[in-house]
């Protein structure tokens, strides 16, 4: 689908949507949002870009295969689950910094867990869609 309007639009939409997806991820603990929805929104951003510019070009922007996001995401989640073990606490215990960080807000192990989910979701969705799209 070659459309100058869509191509121009996605140039601006991609970063905005990605920023929005990250915003959803960060606010998830207090307001509607979270890693899962955030990941889906980010995936949609890339899918939109691939519609306008072709999947090959989107893959170029991504640099790495979306598949590689899956182990990274799972790893981050797993670490955040097992991290409390180092302090002699049972796994999945929520650990939080005392003071909020500017812009981001409260940072705790749950946020990293959500970040892992976010990355896994992007990895999974893009892997499935792009593999099918590129299969001829």
């Amino acid at each position: 689908m070659k459309s100058a309007i869509l191509q121009t639009a996605t140039r601006y939409l991609l970063p905005i949507l990605l920023l929005f997806s990250f915003f959803l991820l960060l606010r998830g603990h207090y307001y509607p949002g979270g890693g899962f929805v955030g990941g889906l929104v980010a995936s949609i951003a890339f899918v939109l870009h691939s519609f306008a510019n072709g999947t090959e070009n989107t893959m170029k922007i991504l640099r790495y295969k979306p598949l590689s996001l899956i182990p990274i995401g799972l790893g981050i989640s797993a670490v955040s689950v097992t991290f409390p073990l180092l302090f002699g606490l049972p796994p999945m215990t929520g650990l939080w910094f005392e003071e909020p960080i500017p812009v981001i807000g409260m940072i705790g192990s749950a946020l990293f867990f959500d970040l892992g989910v976010y990355l896994v979701v992007i990895g999974v969705v893009l892997t499935i869609l792009f593999t099918i799209a590129l299969n001829d």
Partner: protein, 769 residues
């Protein structure tokens, strides 16, 4: 103690990336892992010998009662020392045995995994953790037995071993959970106090039946014994490790561990006596008919395991002492004999007794090790085996029942068989004339013949100074099995009594049997004609039946057509939900409690109906897909109206992506042609209508069911207090039920990998063609 279990697990996984390095001279580091662990447990000997139990506690999944509880008592220590000690010998031996093998690194990864699992089994103080490690031994032994994966036989026997021990594990889990629930604790050291409660419970026979199946499958007791001879397809270091000190002894460990918890009843003792007694005689006689060295050792191992089960069945103090000593005796001589067999196989490339002979001329140090082990297994005075056998006879003779004389007779017959089998495996290949073909045979690396020699010499040292091992290891082991204090003193010389005469008679008769029994192909065939009534044949048949059944099931229920899956799933749900609805009586609708309808809800309903009409009537796939997503967006709007923004967002994004996915796939499909007959749409319409009606009825029913808000109240109250989050939905996802989310992401990843590999794999094969 946790670190000893983790060391193996971690190094095992490190061998995946650093495996190449281990194929070089760095592999010399590998044997030092068991050495360090062995020293660690040796260091604990004085502490445990004083009667102290070392306990370590670490929470794992505390809410389910699953924790890393480790406990080191006499029984655990003896096994831990055997696992790491014999493990050390095997690591040195295996490094030379498999030098240059392409899967050298993999072998040690499996072996380390197995060693950790075994340590976990014998150290766990929690029966659920024990079970986890128990299963891990089954799985890792599967890899070890099937190590020569290019041989079909090897793969088959690995599968048999896994099916039998895995099946047993399944029963064991049921037994353990039952016992734990009745006793109210899963901690072994707390279960000791619950003995009376468990034994008098009406489910007691079921519990011990389940535990027995677990132990008997693992320890190769009749009728589950046949996986063990099959497992001889493994490389010899594996057989030496699995069948002398570890895998098969896990079942014995389990029985010994549960003796003070579930034992000391008529049912427990009689079952063990019968199964153990039959197994030991059956296997000892079987061993004499074999011509393959490893086969002989396999059957004599089964027989030895039978003796141990039998001793635990006797249930007297003397029997426990005998068992605690015999575990060590057997581990020492059996590991030696296996390693000797491995050397013979490695150097002459045959294990056939009819072809081997005269090897003493070329393999002198190996011969010494073999003779020492064979004599210990025969129970010659001054060997450790002598003391072991004395104790067994003492236990049977002093049994408080008029069966004593018969039980002794059984033990004597078994031991005669074992004497002869030990000589066949340890002495026969070395005596007689050296065939010309073997004149060029030379000694292998030192690291191959020194470990068996050390173990064999230990058998002699312990035999001459039994006090050392008795005071330091076996005494506490026997106490742990009995669950109460007992006196014990090991002596080399018991005086000239009935036991001594029996011992000598056994030795003499065994030697005569050895000289009379010439291993030959004819005898092997003679015993093979009974194969069609053997448990192996019967169980294999049952296995084949299960396979056929699953093939039928797969063909009927998993035929690969998406539409057929859909209709089956929906029909099943309709039946189940419909039945449940019908049970609940008629549905009443309380119009007063319903929220009034608003105009935009009518609007959405109209759009929904229109979209549905389009889906059903259109001849274009694209229109159908787009209409489906319209329905999705309508539902999404409903979520917004009823203030569920999280759900709405997720529904919206998911719907968008599914449509994209659909379009991508549809793009590649051939044009739509209507093949189905007129009946099919009618059938589908009926199923769909039924489902819609049932779901609506359920929705109405829910309105007036007394609903409990306890769960949502809990989350609402605690989301901020415990998890510092204000969005309850998200807090549930990432915190309260975070483990679920974790596994869901894993499932998603697997799905993505599935799609990826399916499509990529097909591309590759088309490239090949």
């Amino acid at each position: 103690m946790l670190f000893t279990v983790l060391t193996g697990l971690i190094t095992s996984s490190l061998l995946v990336p650093f495996g190449k390095l281990m194929k070089t001279k760095w592999s010399v580091l590998l044997p030092f892992i068991p050495v360090i662990l062995f020293l660690f447990y040796l260091w604990h000997v004085p502490v445990v010998a004083n009667g102290t139990n070392v306990i370590q506690h670490l929470a794992w999944v505390p809410s389910l009662g699953v924790n890393f509880d480790f406990r080191l008592d006499g029984l655990s220590l003896l096994f831990a020392l055997l696992i790491t000690g014999i493990g050390t010998a095997i690591f040195f031996y295996g490094r030379s045995y498999l030098k240059g093998h392409i899967y050298f690194d993999r072998f040690f990864a499996y072996l380390l995994l197995f060693m950790s699992a075994m340590l976990g089994v014998v150290l766990s103080n929690n029966i659920l953790t024990l079970f986890v490690f128990w299963e891990l031994t089954s799985i890792s032994s599967f890899f070890l037995i099937g190590f020569n994966n290019d041989s079909k036989e090897s793969r088959n026997s690995a599968l048999t071993a896994l099916s039998i021990t895995g099946l047993g594990g399944f029963f064991l889990l049921a037994g353990l959970v039952l016992a734990g629930n009745i006793a109210g604790t899963f901690i072994i050291s707390e279960l000791f106090a619950q003995h009376d409660k468990l034994v008098n419970h009406s489910l007691y026979p079921l519990i011990i039946g389940l535990v027995f199946i677990g132990a008997f499958t693992k320890s190769a007791q009749f009728p589950f014994h046949f996986w063990l001879p099959g497992a001889m397809k493994a490389p010899t270091p594996v057989s030496a490790y699995l069948h002398s000190a570890t895998m098969v002894k896990a079942g014995i460990y389990l029985l010994a561990r549960f003796t003070p918890i579930l034992g000391n009843t008529e049912l427990w003792n009689t079952t063990l006596l019968i199964v153990g007694g039959f197994t030991m005689v059956f296997a000892a006689i079987h061993a004499l008919f074999r011509t393959d060295l490893k086969s002989i050792l396999a059957y004599s191992t089964i027989s030895a395991l039978g003796i141990l089960t039998f001793l635990l069945g006797l249930g007297t103090t003397e029997a426990f002492i005998a068992a605690s000593v015999f575990i060590l005796v057997h581990a020492l001589y059996k590991a030696t004999l296996f390693m000797v067999t491995g050397i013979i196989d490695h150097e002459t490339h045959t294990r056939d007794l009819t072809k081997l002979g005269g090897l003493r001329k070329v393999l002198m140090p190996v011969f010494i090790a073999a003779v020492l082990a064979a004599l210990s297994s025969a129970g010659l005075p001054s060997t450790f085996g002598f003391i072991g056998k004395d104790l067994i006879y003492e236990a049977t003779l002093h049994y408080h029942h008029n069966w004593a004389i018969w039980l002794t007779a059984l033990a004597v017959i078994t031991n005669i068989g074992l004497v002869a089998a030990g000589f066949m495996a340890g002495i026969k290949p070395f005596t007689g004339k050296l065939p010309q073909a073997f004149e060029q045979v030379h000694l292998p690396y030192k690291s191959m013949w020194i470990p068996p020699l050390i173990l064999a010499v230990l058998g002699l040292v312990f035999g001459i100074f039994p006090g050392i091992t008795g005071d330091y290891f076996n005494h506490q082991t026997a106490i742990a099995i009995a669950g109460e204090n007992l006196e014990m003193e090991l002596k080399m010389w018991h005086g000239f009594n009935t036991v001594f005469i029996l011992s000598l008679a056994t030795l003499a008769t065994g030697t005569i049997v050895y000289f009379l029994n010439k291993p030959s192909e004819a005898k092997l065939r003679a015993i093979e004609q009974f194969n069609h009534i053997s448990p192996q044949y019967i169980i294999t048949k049952i296995g084949a039946g299960i396979k056929q059944m699953s093939a039928w099931y797969t063909n009927v229920f998993h035929n690969g057509y998406l539409r057929s899956y859909h209709i089956k799933i929906i029909l099943f749900a309709e039946l189940l939900l419909g039945y449940k609805l019908w049970l609940g009586g008629p549905v009443r609708i309380d119009y007063a409690n319903l929220t009034p309808l608003s105009w935009y809800e009518f609007g959405i309903a109209a759009i929904l109906l229109g979209a549905m009409y389009l889906i059903v009537t259109t001849r274009s796939r694209l229109t159908a897909v787009v209409s489906t997503s319209v329905i999705g967006y309508c539902i999404c709007l409903m979520f917004v109206f009823y203030s569920a923004p999280d759900l709405a967002m997720t529904q919206f994004t998911i719907d968008t992506l599914t449509t994209v996915l659909f379009v991508l796939v549809l793009y590649k499909l051939p044009p739509f042609i209507n093949f189905t007959s007129r009946g099919v749409p009618i059938r589908d319409a009926i199923v769909a209508l039924g489902f819609g009606i049932i779901i609506s009825l359920i929705a109405l029913r829910v309105l007036y069911e007394p609903n409990s808000t306890a769960i949502s109240d809990f989350y609402g109250e605690n989301a901020y207090l415990l998890a510092k989050g204000k969005n309850v939905v998200n807090v549930i996802l990432v915190d309260f039920r975070g483990m679920d989310t974790m596994f869901e992401t894993v499932v998603l990843s697997i799905a993505a990998l599935g799609v990826y590999s399916l499509i990529k794999l097909r591309l590759k094969s088309s490239e090949k063609e």
